[in-house]
Assembly symmetry: C2
Homo-oligomer: 313 residues x 2
């Protein structure tokens, strides 16, 4: 349902190919469509007419894809989901300008809700958008930092991944007619789901299966990325942690990936990561349980967690 809406977004002009074609291209890259799906699920769960949530769902996905366009320029990434990124296919200026356009289009789509909730929906969207930029800034700042502590890491992923999932769940709930309190709990659900999801993503980047994960394994290790594994590993302050510190200064390549992976195994990182993912999944579920939703509605969100988490199995 979200997919059809996303693919039918109309632009103000069918001329200006250079502005709008990259947007269509970016939006058609596919992906999990997790954010619009969550928004529609929340609207439906609270008894709302999910068709009234379609524009906002498309807007949230448009926002997410805007951040991808700009992130790819900042990271100089030429590939995403197996296709050339917008800045690689066109150029950086096109990615910047079409990205800006997507942010305004996203805001216009998200604003297509009833007047009675317009201000709260917009406030949620804009406030969480700021959190996403803050997360990206933190992530960029981490690159030049020697070490990052666990709190800093968690703050970064809450912003970069959790905030928009939280906004999706909350906006969906508001459209569905949820009370202000229930909408806040759904925000908490999305936020914690995002944290669980990101820690699992960090785990899979080292311990996942390249075929199901969709990216080459070991990329984070080669890039010395401040992941959950690295942050947690360096904080241990033991022999393994010293070995890890030494291994991180190795040149990128399969030997480095193998060495660091081995150290993580000795540190029991697969179990440590899974425990952390389970803890945040549980926090997400508790948030849903605190709402006024009936058991069978809550079950839908529990299933969503199960589907998203444990992708490694």
């Amino acid at each position: 349902m979200a997919e059809a809406e996303i693919r039918s977004i109309a632009f103000p002009s069918d001329k200006l190919e250079g502005l709008y074609a990259p947007i269509t291209y970016g939006m058609q890259a596919g992906g999990k469509r997790l954010r619009p799906t969550l928004l529609l699920m929340a609207a439906d769960a609270f008894g709302g007419d999910a068709s009234k949530a379609l524009k906002a769902a498309a807007g949230i996905e448009m926002f997410h894809n805007f951040t991808l366009l700009h992130d790819d320029v900042m990271d100089k990434s030429d590939l995403r989901r197996g296709r050339a990124t917008v800045h690689a296919k066109w150029d950086a200026n096109t990615a910047i300008l079409s990205g800006d356009t997507m942010l305004t289009l996203a805001t216009m789509l998200v604003a297509q809700v009833d007047d009675s909730i317009l201000r709260e929906v917009l406030d949620t969207f804009n406030t969480q958008a700021l959190r996403v930029y803050e997360g990206q800034r933190l992530d960029m700042d981490f690159e030049s930092m020697e070490t990052v502590d666990l709190d800093e890491y968690l703050e970064m992923i809450k912003c970069k991944t959790g905030a928009l999932l939280g906004a999706s769940a909350k906006i969906g709930a508001l459209i569905g007619g949820a009370s202000h309190e229930d909408a806040e709990r759904m925000y908490e659900f999305g936020l914690m789901l995002g944290v669980a999801f990101q820690i699992e993503d960090d785990y899979l980047d080292t311990f996942g299966n390249a075929d199901t994960f969709g990216k080459p394994i070991g990329g984070d290790i080669n890039n010395n990325k401040k992941t959950f594994l690295m942050v947690k590993g360096l904080a241990a302050a033991d022999a393994n942690s010293s070995a890890l510190r030494a291994a991180l200064s190795m040149p990128a390549g399969p030997t480095k990936v193998k060495t660091v992976t081995r150290i993580y195994e000795m540190m029991d990182m697969p179990a440590v990561s899974k425990a952390e993912v389970a803890a945040y999944s549980s926090k997400a579920l508790s948030a849903v349980k605190a709402t006024s939703l009936s058991d069978d509605k809550r079950e839908i969100f529990r299933k969503l967690i199960d589907k998203l988490i444990g992708r490694s199995k």
Copy 2:
């Protein structure tokens, strides 16, 4: 009044220097503050409490400065108003991300209006923001085009310069309590004022005084920029126009500037430009005259035109 508001904008976090310091830096560059001034003037003229328009005025200026941050990245410009641009002082990634943040902050500021006009104000802001991006895209496309006709040129400057001035006047009018019809006429005023202003800017880039213009004279000629002078000159299809075409292929430098300027003089371009500026100023004034504003209120806008246009005198 707008200046104090602009300088007192609060950010969600006093940490994250890397995200918010470039915004403060960009906003403190000064400039004419034309857009917020116009917004406040319109709010006041229609009898509104101008203090209720301050946030929206700051938001419009924030939006304008966001476009400058991103334009400077796209144009690789290192200087603006005599200071290093954000991407030169920090880096391109900082300018992209802080610019994104400014767009969201701008939307949040513009949304700080009464519920009764929130939707119309937001629609105006977002729709005209899209026009600004379209204008920037057209301007970029013009760079690789051999010739641009007058209609294409006018469409570009309506989007790139006129749309936001139109939005400023219209949003101010709405906050001031103007009818929908009067608000539209004020949009027309801002749009036409913007066109007049841009044509005059093009004229001054060749025929102005470097001290009062604030930029070196002849920059447009050296960059083969599709200005009003060039578009109009190439359209003439006479001996001068052929000479102009030849002169445009000269290498950049004082000789090129002198040669092209001479040809423009032979084509009577100073008078042609001034006539066009006068025609659009007159359209702007007609739009104000079509509103229900009293004569003394209209006079304020006539004076604004006089102040802005004829900067060369």
